[in-house]
């Protein structure tokens, strides 16, 4: 049994629990509305809440900045976040592993599927330039990276995956309004299943609202959230490929 490690927010003194939050109430600003903002913070579990800023923002709305002391705490020792189990390698190491274990180029197909038109995420992983100094998969000489871009129908993506004999399908979902990404992602995984391809490809999803846990729930092999780069995705892909071929051999 691990020792408990209780933590709460830190302002300037350990365990003071100080947090800040801001929100809008759908009423015009007056003293009652301001008191309502304070009580709301209280109900959220903030002790001694103080409204540091209150402003009418027109059309019957008012905006608040509130400080308070969070009375809740969590035991860090009990937390174990689901993460894909692999080591993040650098580009040279990934290329070397692909060459050694696969003996051919790894084919990675990337797309924003269905209605999603926001390619910033898929571009950051796939395109030569990459993001934040991390080069994209196109720059890996052992990877054939094909970026299909925005609004690709799941059927088209799967057809292309068959044509290109894709090892990895990487989809991005940025628009998550009304949870449309869940429908889109389920649809793709269903089509792959129906085509009998699900076991053959490594299926990966990324996006600002994507976690590995959510990806697993949706039947994906891995999910990558904010702060992921090409090397994270590629490291997972080759690791998963090696594990699968070992399972097949066994």
């Amino acid at each position: 049994m691990q020792q408990a490690k209780w933590i709460k927010p830190y302002g300037d003194t350990l365990d003071d629990g100080r947090v800040q939050l801001s929100f809008t109430l759908p009423v015009a600003m007056d003293d009652n509305a301001k008191e309502a903002a304070r009580r709301l913070a209280l109900a959220m579990g903030l002790e001694e809440p103080a409204v540091s800023h209150a402003q009418d923002i027109g059309q019957g709305f008012s905006f608040y900045v509130v400080y308070g002391q969070c009375k809740h705490r969590v035991d860090l020792s009990t937390i174990k976040v689901a993460k894909p189990d692999f080591e993040v390698l650098d580009k040279d190491e990934i290329n070397r592993l692909i060459a050694e274990k696969m003996g051919r180029k790894m084919v990675v197909l990337g797309a924003c599927i269905e209605t999603d038109a926001h390619t910033v995420g898929i571009d950051a992983i796939m395109n030569m330039k990459g993001y934040n100094g991390h080069k994209g998969l196109e720059s890996y000489h052992e990877i054939r990276a094909i970026n299909l871009g925005a609004q690709v129908d799941s059927e088209d993506l799967v057809a292309r995956a068959i044509d290109e004999r894709a090892d990895v399908i990487l989809v991005s979902q940025v628009v998550t309004q009304k949870n449309i990404h869940l429908d889109n992602l389920t649809r793709l995984s269903d089509i792959l299943e129906a085509e009998g391809l699900r076991e053959k490809v490594i299926l990966v999803v990324g996006g600002p609202r994507i976690s590995h846990e959510l990806a697993k729930e949706l039947g994906y092999d891995a999910g990558f959230g904010p702060g992921s780069y090409a090397e994270n995705v590629a490291s997972f892909a080759i690791d998963e490929w090696i594990k699968r071929s070992a399972r097949k051999a066994a």
Partner: protein, 514 residues
């Protein structure tokens, strides 16, 4: 105003290249029409509404003409001929076709059908001219706001919720409200109908939604004694139809790029070149400011490396706009503040790019877009990035200023995000109002040298595009590092060659004097 020393002859040569590039494309594409151009023409003749399956009647009629092998002659005289023969209005003809009660034939008297189509078109042009005059009168009464104009986005998916947010934005000081479209609408080959409340990442562009938002903004504008401009998206597979709807309902701005759909939505380039011409012609006649989409190049390609592709594309967009009869004040040429914040002196290069564009297009209503690519979930840093963007905008005298949101990388804006963003911009614009006329760029300094370098690269790339032709240049991935082929992409099936006797009444009416 602070000015950079630029080689004027170089600007002239680049512009001349762009002129020849535009003319070549225009000559090739004017021999063809598209299904959406014909549908827009029918909408402008008064056909609206949907059938029992929610298929718009303009689509039904155009499909009908296509099936009968008649569309290449132009939808307008065919429908006018049917109106004459049946003693019906255009709408009645469309309804009869949709119900299978009428099969349209070649008109017995071709000249008479044309004259009727011309008269019907002239009637609509009068309506659009009245809308334009109404806008001018409202602006004259309230006065133009100082530039940069504050441009805000609403994107709830529900037109009634959009109206609540738009009214709040206008009350807080927005000069322009843009209603973002539902994701995916650009790839619909029809325009949805009626008031809509279910969109994703935005609200469907429909004529009824246009009308509802226009009325709301007029009302809040009258109270605030300001004219609030309304913006929508004239892009995708239905560019010309959305232009027609916007012209009828007095929209003030339309996102309307000559190449955006090709590059970023994989819409066929022949289709796009034809559609952008017609839609821009309608926008120009209606006095609608077009907004071009060069900012998008910088979200895909690197903002420093690709700076010259922005200017090259703006020069091409300018020439397509000229061919469609747009005056410089209606050209909202787009660019963006997208340099990586980690880059040393990045702000200097932003100033260089923004000032360069200002000087190359002194009369244009430049549209300056905020940081998006390098926005993170760190809203506090994001607010600072937006403040720097605001400074660059006022110092270089930009015209249309799309407000950055500190929650850019997280969600569509909350009402307070918009409020804080306006407060940020108004503070910067107020405290630096005359800064641009008080400072000068150091002659031969880093900013000036950077601008000269981008200009030189622009001239070179345009010379290259002129040599290969624009379609080949796009196929090579010249813009945004994305390659598209002339026969690829969506919507090619809607492109058809015009017959020798093709007739459309609108170009003659709308391009008068150009």
């Amino acid at each position: 105003m602070a000015q950079l020393q630029l080689d004027v002859a170089r600007i002239a040569r680049a512009r001349e290249s762009a002129r020849r590039i535009g003319r070549q494309v225009h000559e090739d594409s004017s021999r063809k029409t598209t299904t959406t151009v014909e549908r827009a023409t029918l909408r402008l003749m008064g056909i609206d509404g949907v059938d029992e399956n929610q298929v718009p009647l303009p689509n039904r009629v155009v499909e009908h003409l296509r099936e009968r092998g008649l569309l290449a002659h132009g939808a307008a005289p065919l429908v006018a001929g049917a109106m004459d023969a049946q003693g019906m209005s255009a709408q009645q003809v469309a309804e009869a076709v949709a119900h299978g009660r009428l099969a349209i034939e070649r008109p017995r008297d071709e000249a008479r059908a044309r004259a009727l189509a011309d008269a019907s078109a002239a009637h609509m042009c009068d309506h659009i001219a009245t809308q334009r005059a109404s806008r001018a009168a409202r602006i004259a009464a309230s006065g133009e706001p100082p530039t940069p104009w504050l441009y805000l986005i609403v994107a709830t998916g529900n037109i009634y919720e959009d109206i609540v947010q738009a009214r709040a934005a206008a009350e807080q000081g927005a000069d322009i409200v843009a209603v973002i479209r539902s994701t995916g609408q650009s790839l619909l080959d029809y325009v949805p109908y009626g008031a809509t409340t279910e969109g994703f990442g935005g609200t469907y562009a429909t004529q009824e939604n246009f009308r509802l938002m226009r009325a709301a903004l007029d009302e809040v504008g009258e109270k605030a004694k300001r004219y609030i401009r309304l913006t929508n998206y004239c892009s995708g597979l239905c560019m010309p139809e959305i232009a027609a709807m916007g012209a009828m309902e007095r929209l003030d701005m339309m996102l309307n790029d000559s190449m955006y759909g090709i590059i970023f939505r994989d819409i066929n380039m022949q289709r796009t070149f034809i559609d952008q011409f017609f839609s821009r012609m309608v926008n120009g006649y209606a006095g609608i400011i077009i907004n071009t989409g060069e900012d998008n190049y910088l979200t895909t390609a690197d903002a420093v490396e690709a700076a010259h592709t922005v200017l090259a594309s703006q020069l091409i967009n300018e020439q397509f706009a000229v061919l469609s009869g747009l005056t410089p004040d209606l050209m909202g040429l787009g660019h963006a503040f997208e340099i990586d914040p980690a880059l040393e002196n990045g702000f200097l290069w932003e100033l260089a790019h923004a000032q360069l564009v200002r000087q190359v297009f002194p009369e244009a209503s430049l549209k300056y877009m905020p940081p998006t690519k390098h926005m993170t979930g760190n809203i506090f840093r994001g607010h600072v990035q937006d403040a720097l963007f605001n400074i660059a905008s006022t110092v270089t005298n930009q015209h249309i200023h799309l407000l950055g949101m500190m929650t850019e990388a997280i969600h569509t804006p909350f009402i307070q995000d918009r409020y804080l963003s306006i407060e940020n911009a108004r503070y910067v614009f107020r405290t630096m109002r005359d800064l641009h006329s008080e400072i000068e760029f150091k002659p031969g300094g880093q900013i000036e040298q950077r601008a000269q370098q981008v200009l030189a690269e622009t001239e070179a790339i345009l010379a290259e595009v002129e040599r290969t032709g624009l379609p080949a240049a796009i196929a090579k991935g010249t813009f945004a590092d994305i390659s598209r082929r002339p026969d690829g992409g969506k919507g090619l099936d809607g492109v058809l060659a015009k017959a020798d006797d093709y007739h459309n009444p609108f170009p003659a009416l709308m391009l008068q004097g150009h």
